[in-house]
């Protein structure tokens, strides 16, 4: 990481610039320079930088203006800035931090301190980039953008949301009866369709295992009518699969069927994993229930099954059929199940 990180040094004073560049190159970084704020912004917009070392007192465009511009530019706001300045007075430091600077080093900069601060900043940026990448993959662009705007809530929260489990009926025998490339091709098409339907209704996919996936509606961001949105997404999924089956039929391939289980209620949501690999997920009885209900689609012979609290939240706007109570492993009380037609 350290050797591949690209740093930009913005300082109008040649001695300062040479010295900083020398110190950074000795640490193994690739360094570009700018002699004022205007050139610094041009460089930042022209290519990717991992970190900026910014002087404040510069002609044309000063460091404060650079910080302000970067803060308002979505493409630049996450590039960490360490201010290196010899401006007098604590109010300058406060102003820099308020404008989004990550750190403030007084000049002449101590090389040991410089190394430590840069290492910490780059590590933080790496984690943020990783989270953004995960979000991009699992969330809708709107959710990802909202989360980036509002910052990440990495700690767990109790939320009210709707969870959906989906899988392909009798997938294992199908997978074993056809060439592996066809199976992977099928899964990719299937996932593309499911992701489309889920994203379009405001959900995010939190888990994919084999032919199964889990999606959540109403977390990490609250979502109005998350129950109805999840059910509409499920209906769209079955419609998309019907169309997909037409194509498969034309190519002389067997049709596939999916099962969808949906439950709503309180759950714990948050990021889990390690620093290197984390994912957003939901945990709790509601999640278990959705999983059991999805498995129950086989027994009931229906594509979409929902629990009572999802059913009640629909308020009759989507046609359902009461299937009576069912008992599930790990859940003490009998559960009322409804089929969506």
């Amino acid at each position: 990481m350290s050797s591949s990180a690209r740093l930009l040094v913005a300082d109008d004073n040649k001695v300062n610039r040479l010295l900083l560049v020398r110190n950074l190159e000795l640490m193994g970084y690739a360094v570009s320079t700018a002699e004022n704020g205007r050139v610094a912004l041009e460089n930042l917009r022209g290519s990717r930088f991992d970190l900026v070392l910014l002087d404040m007192e510069m002609p044309e465009v000063d460091g404060f203006a650079v910080l302000a511009e970067m803060k308002h530019d979505l493409a630049l706001r996450d590039v960490p800035v360490i201010v290196t300045s010899s401006l007098e007075g604590i109010d300058h430091v406060v102003r820099c931090v308020e404008l989004g600077a990550e750190d403030y080093l007084h000049k002449p900069v101590n090389p040991v301190l410089l190394k430590a601060r840069i290492g910490a900043s780059l590590e933080k940026k790496r984690l943020r980039d990783q989270q953004k990448e995960l979000l991009r993959r699992f969330a809708t662009p709107e959710v990802a953008a909202d989360l980036e705007q509002s910052g990440f809530a990495l700690d767990g929260r109790r939320v009210r949301a709707t969870v959906m489990f989906v899988d392909i009926r009798d997938f294992t025998p199908l997978a074993e009866s056809q060439p592996p490339e066809e199976t992977i091709d099928l899964l990719n098409n299937y996932y593309a369709l499911m992701f489309d339907a889920i994203s379009e209704h405001g959900g995010i996919v939190t888990l994919m295992i084999g032919d199964g996936l889990m999606a959540v509606f109403g977390a990490p961001l609250p979502l109005q009518e998350h129950e109805a949105r999840a059910v509409r997404a499920a209906k769209e999924m079955t419609e998309l699969i019907a169309l997909f089956n037409e194509e498969r039929k034309a190519a002389s391939r067997v049709p596939i069927r999916i099962g969808v289980g949906i439950a709503s209620g309180e759950m714990i949501a948050g990021y889990v994993g390690t620093k290197a690999r984390a994912t957003y997920t939901c945990i709790g009885e509601t999640v278990n229930l959705a999983s059991r209900i999805e498995a129950h689609t086989k027994v009931a012979g229906r594509s979409i099954l929902i629990d009572r609290s999802t059913h009640d939240a629909l308020g009759g706007r989507i046609a359902t059929e009461a299937l009576g109570a069912a008992t599930f492993k790990g859940i003490a009380a009998a559960v009322e199940v409804f089929a969506v037609s």
């Binding site: 109008d12 004073n13 040649k14 010295l19 020398r22 007192e57 010899s86 007098e88 002449p108 090389p111």
Partner: protein, 113 residues
């Protein structure tokens, strides 16, 4: 008073290398006269921004080499501002200019060590 703080200069030379330290001295000796000219001109014109920036640069560079007296004199100019400095009398930059000549001579000697 110490012209160049030996410890500061040694740390600079040790961390960046002798050759680089020489190059940095040369750069400073090339750049500093125009900073001094900036100070004189902005003082004459009453240009507060330019005066502050020039004093700020001299302070910053002086401290980098361990020219602590030069740094202190420049810091005083930076903080006082052009109006207050102008009110000080006929040659308010005299002390700083004399100190710069001492620093330049000392750095030139260190350069050839």
């Amino acid at each position: 008073m110490t012209i160049i703080d030996a410890e500061t200069f040694a740390a600079l030379r040790d961390t960046t290398g002798s050759e680089f330290a020489r190059e940095l001295i040369d750069t400073f000796l090339t750049e500093a006269p125009s900073m001094l000219a900036d100070l004189r001109e902005s003082l004459a014109d009453g240009d507060a921004d330019r005066f502050r920036r020039a004093a700020h640069s001299l302070k910053s560079n002086g401290n980098t080499f361990g020219a602590l007296t030069l740094g202190t004199l420049a810091k005083d100019l930076e903080l006082s501002g052009v109006v207050a400095v102008k009110a000080r009398g006929p040659s308010p930059l005299g002390g700083l200019e004399a100190e710069y000549l001492r620093v330049a001579a000392a750095l030139a000697a260190l350069r050839d060590e």
